[in-house]
Each structure stands twice: as C-alpha cells, then as structure tokens.
C-alpha cells in the first residue's frame, strides 16, 4: 500500500472546484447555480481535510465543520430567495433578475 501523495488530494479539490465554477458560469437556472456553489464549497472542504490529514491535526476538520455550517445556512437563505424570486418573476432565469443594472 502506497502512501497517497498530498498533491493528489489537493488536485481532486481543484478539479471539483473548477467543475463547480464551470457549472456556475454556464448555467442560467438559479437552482443549478446554487448547486454549483455547493460543489465549490465542498471542494474547498476537501482541501482543508487534505491539509489536516497531511499535518495529522484536527484543525482541517474543524474548518470543514465551519464550512458545512456556512453551506447549510447559505442553502437555506438561498432557497428562500429562490422561492421569492420565482414567486415574483415566474422564472428561475438568473438573467431575468437584472433590475439592478446601472
């Protein structure tokens, strides 16, 4: 059994993060965008876990818990916003919500 190189864990995190980013950029559906944000947050969490594992310290996991907390709060508020938006604009198109343009 080989030792897993730390870089690999971080590469996994970056790949997932990039995928989430791509999704965030190409999607117009706001729920998809929310999902993408979750993916990106999760990827960030992976990076913390990898780092924690490398130094054999619990701090990485503590950070993950904080991220988790934040993600949960974000999803709840974000979904509430999506509900409001859908109620007002009758669409999930994020481009429709452009009343704040300059």
């Amino acid at each position: 059994m080989n030792v897993i190189p730390a870089e690999y864990g971080l590469i996994l995190a970056s790949v997932l993060f990039t995928l989430g980013l791509v999704s965030l950029l190409i999607r117009r559906n706001i729920i998809f965008m929310l999902i993408s944000v979750e993916i990106m947050l999760n990827a960030a969490g992976i990076a913390f876990i990898v780092a924690g594992s490398k130094w054999a310290q619990p701090d990485g996991q503590v950070m993950f818990i904080f991220i988790l907390t934040m993600a949960a709060a974000e999803v709840s508020v974000g979904l509430a916003l999506i509900l409001q938006m859908y109620h007002q604009l009758k669409t999930l198109d994020s481009d429709a919500a452009n009343k704040m343009k300059g």
Binding site: M1, N2, V3, P5, A6, E7, Y8, G9, I11, L12, S14, V15, L16, F17, T18, L21, V22, S23, L25, I26, N29, I31, F32, L34, I35, E38, I39, N42, G45, I46, I49, V50, G52, S53, K54, A56, P58, D59, Q61, V62, L68, T69, M70, A71, A72, A73, E74, V75, S76, V77, L79, A80, L81, I82, L83, Q84, Y86, H87, L92, K99
Partner: protein, 175 residues
Amino acid sequence: MAIIFYMASAIAVIATVMVITRHNLVHALLYLVVSFLAVAIVFYVLGAPFIAVLEIIIYAGAIVVLLIFVIMMLNLRQESVAQEKQWFSGKIIIGPLILASILLVEMLYILTSGEPAGLSENMIEAKAVGMSLYGPYVLGVELSGILLMSGIVGAYHLGRQKKKVTHRFLEKKEE
C-alpha cells in the same frame, strides 16, 4: 487504501461532471448525492471518519433534501427541462470553459510545483475534533451559531409569501 482513494476520487469527479451537464434538476441532484458519497469515502480514506459521516448526513442528506423540497414546491414541469436545454447551448460553454481551464492549469501548476509529501494514515478521531472545536475554536463555534440563527430567521423572513411590492422609484418609472 490508496486504490480506494483513487476510485472514490474518480467517481466523485465523474458524478460531478454528470451533475453539471444534466438538464433535469432531479437527475442532477441524484448525481450530486453520488458525488457527495464518493467524497465521503475520500474523507474516510484520508483519516477523517467523523467528517465523512457529517458529509453524508448534512450534504448528501439535509442539503440535497432541502433542494428537492424546493424543486417540489416550485412544481417544475417538463417545459423547464426543455428550457434548460435551450439555455445550455454550446456557444455559452466555451468562454467559461476556457477561463476555468486556465484557472485549473494554474492551480495544478502551483500544487505540483511544491515538494511532494505524503499524507498520514492516522485517524483523527471525533474526540480530537471536538476538543479543538470547543477549545481554541470556541469563538468560531459561537459565530457559526449566530450565522445559523440568522440563516433561519432570514430564510423564514424571505420565505413568507408577500404581496408583490415594487420599490417606489421603480414604480414611478413604470407609470
């Protein structure tokens, strides 16, 4: 153990790719669950069993369920899938893909340019996490509490059905 890590990583990446290419929201969510589960395995392999469990319970469980609830509430029909297809055209993808790949290449470059180091295989028990969580990070815990609290209040407040109100400035313009 390493082979499990590689497999789980591969599954996570493939599942995530599937998530971001689906037109149907529910399908995408199912792949998302798969992705989260794979990541949970990765966590377990990296010696974070407590986190692996949390990942399953909260991400794959709570958050995804929340999303599904919302989708159900919105009562999306088949048209939304069609519309999603229409929005998901090839032309829009190119730009973000190029940008994202540049970003990825740069990140990979940075990650691989350092000294290679192995990961320890020691398990970090939930107790150690708990000790440090309520030890040095207690302030962060309390802040998280406040965050969750405000998240709940905010979600409740925003989620209420209100009359359609437009801002007075916009109202004037519309007249």
